[in-house]
Amino acid sequence: MIDRIASGFNPFVIPFLAGMAFVLGYCLISMIRIVLQLSHADRKKFLISLVTPGVIWRNCRDIFCDCLLHVKLWKRNRLLGYMHSSIALGWFILIVLGHIEVLLFVPGRINLFYYPIFFNFFVAENESTVQGKVLFFLMDFFLLVVLSGIFLAMLKRLRSRLFGMRRTTRHSLTNQVGLYALWAIFPLRLLAESFTAHISGGSFLTVPANWVFRQFLGNDLNMLPTWWAYSIALCVFMVVLPFSRYMHIPAEMMLIPMRNAGIRITSARRGLARLEVLSCPNCGICIDACPMSADRANLKDCTVYLTRQIRRGNEKRIDEISDKCLLCGKCQELCQVGVEGPKLRVAQRASRKYPISPDFSDIDVKGSGISAEKHEVAYYSGCMTRLTPSISRSVESLLRKAGVDYTWIDRDGGLCCGRPMLIAGRTEEAREMAARNMELIISSGAGTLLVSCPICYRMFTEEYTLPGIRVVHYAEFFDELIRQKRLTVEKSDVCYVYHDPCELGRGCGMYDGPRRLLSHAAFLAEADRTRGESVCCGGSLGSISLDFEHRKSITMSSLENLYSSRADAIATACPLCRSTLARYSDRPVRDIAEVIDNQTKES
């Protein structure tokens, strides 16, 4: 291969160069701004992580797997996975191959930025070309791969169900411009390379295409305009990129190192939050995931629209979306990029100012329910359990049957654990409540804190420091008692489906414990969507603005999912889920503690 154009330049590369300069400059500045927005400690942590060998390796691996291979998408739906990795990985390989070609045939031009991209325009075949046949073949092959991905992307807009998605995002104008530019890039590249294939050579795709075109096009006049079009399409894509969802491509490459550095969201808009917002690819997986989408009125309140409104700065909608969310965490569980929708919302709630602040300083908790004598186990039922006495009664009954030395520390009332306050965005007040509660729990002198409410459990494990006290959910505790033969449980022939409470499952990662405990006493069936993908019951305290009557459709869809298991009854491990599901369920809803207690003999 030899240079065809002595100067190595043609004006058609200018749009490409301009677009490239713009996008690189823009990204660099926004990334620097994000790093500067981090708190001092976080910034230090981040910069150190960038030179830590172990983290470097993790970053490289994660970027390759997530940004190029899209491993998580493959796990979700193969067609969706193929579509994304064919475009991302295929394009990446095309760029790499372009550079190899330049290095191999015209090494002197490697310093020209555009040369690998427009290689076929600038070179002509000569006798040395044979060595390049494999490269040409690979170029055509990966171009075909990318084209197949583009074809699937078009198909997805028409038939999203093939890709396992019921609903897709409604795209904004910039997103659409970006989308059409991206779709145009590769067919134009095929066309451009085909027109020049009789000069610069090609392979199975471009050479036959060239032959076909030459049958009815007698001259090379189409060549230059097509290369112009190709360059302009690239330019449009790159200029639109920072303002469209395609910003997720550079943003995700920075999000991965930042997450690997262990940085958390502290502000609603700045630093990591900003980066997560930019990393949202608007794929719309969270639309189907969101339990609120059972009601069409809530379709625009899932995380993809939150990130969009944050980028637009539409404060009214940001507040609405932030307040409505149930914080069930399913969008985050399914998000391919790891956008923390719930945390973004809580940070937004926390940014509000209230003239009245809670003040618990004069609340006297001492002497309420704490008996003078010490017990091994302190049972904390929490607020919600007081409205479902069947749970606390079963827990007490089981503790008695197993002969556990216990005390029920909030039998006569107590303080709320603080989580409802925390997720309403009033962080400081929640901390104050937590501090007073910690005092109370420590003063009980018990070595084990037994909890039956997942909301409290998550708060205790995430936000409390209780030195020397083991915080345990009854699902684990009673399972241990059964293993130690302190409880004798007889298996009934009732078949239960277990509903994963959001706070216990996605919140604390406890999926197997409750199932193991339940299987001592009953048969287990699984719903269609289960564990990390289970559907919130709709009763969650996470939502501030959803009214009682607007939660029914969510509860109904959660129940529909549970009915799919064809179980006789529903079991759960959360007082709030229990009463919410029982309100509309056509079959019994029980807490696991009740099921176990019914099947446990008096010793």
């Binding site: 409205l387 006495p389 009557e549 229990r578 309100r583």
Partner: protein, 337 residues
Amino acid sequence: MKENVVIIGGGIAGMEAAGQLLSLGYNPIIVEQQDHLGGHVAQWHRLFPDMIPAQELVQKLGESIAEANVFLETRVNFVNRLSDGWNVMLSNGINIVCRAILVASGFTLFDASRKEEYGYGVYDHVITNADLEAWLNGSADRRVPFRPESMGFVHCVGSRDMKAGNTQCSKVCCTTAIKQAIEMKERFPDSNVYCFYMDLRLFGKKYEDFYINAQKQWGVQFIRGRVSEVSETMEGRLQVKAEDTLSGRPVKVQLDLLVLMSGMVCNEHSSRMAGMMGLDIDSDGFIRSRDNEYHIVESNRPGVFYAGTCTGTKTVPETVCEARSAALAIHNYLKGR
């Protein structure tokens, strides 16, 4: 040959209407799911405000329909419209062709266990108004203590409650609670009896006298506040929490017996029947009358009439009056007036 009129439901509404239709020269056919006539009233002990035994009323109504056709333990399987009437298929295989149907399917008592915070079915000494009537009628109930020191009545259980899916007032519970409180006081004169109410709705004839009597003669204590939760003390007594809204402070009291005044909710079979006959359902879940002012016993379908609590909550006298008026409406309809 006398003309058939099918009456769905053998409660007091169905019985009264059947008696009237008999004397008007028709052949009423009562279809009753249960094994007895008289519906909920047959299970009740005494009726307010004159405290007559409920059995007396049921017996009297029973005598008046001695000549009527009654199918007990029978359900309506299917109803279809004919050109000038209805064809009713029963679960016992009998087919009836008639020009008029009277729907008197009544109500269902609210399932008190759905109000989980009251602990019905969880605690040992929580019963419903229906349980108490059965006990007053002499059936044994271990949940009623031998000598209760204090007891409470919770008004509006499942009534006026959006969370229970019923926003309507059940009308009779306030008076029933007072009646039961008096009956319990008669048996346990030394006990403390508390009524926890949101509003006392004592609209009927002599109901207010009943209330005054309960206060003056029997010393029933009325607390204006809805019970929010029930727990159990270490000693196993019930502890009830409410707000005494008049003093503006939370109250708690330890009780030996708690009676939940379960309200009336629409009969679960009514909607099935309404579907078969094309009847409208009102927003409160009960069957919708043609209007709620004048055409209460009439439906949106020709030849279909209503009586009693299938269209909403009602007292005994209201139900009986409605049954008579429905009988007359049917008579006029069949005579072509």
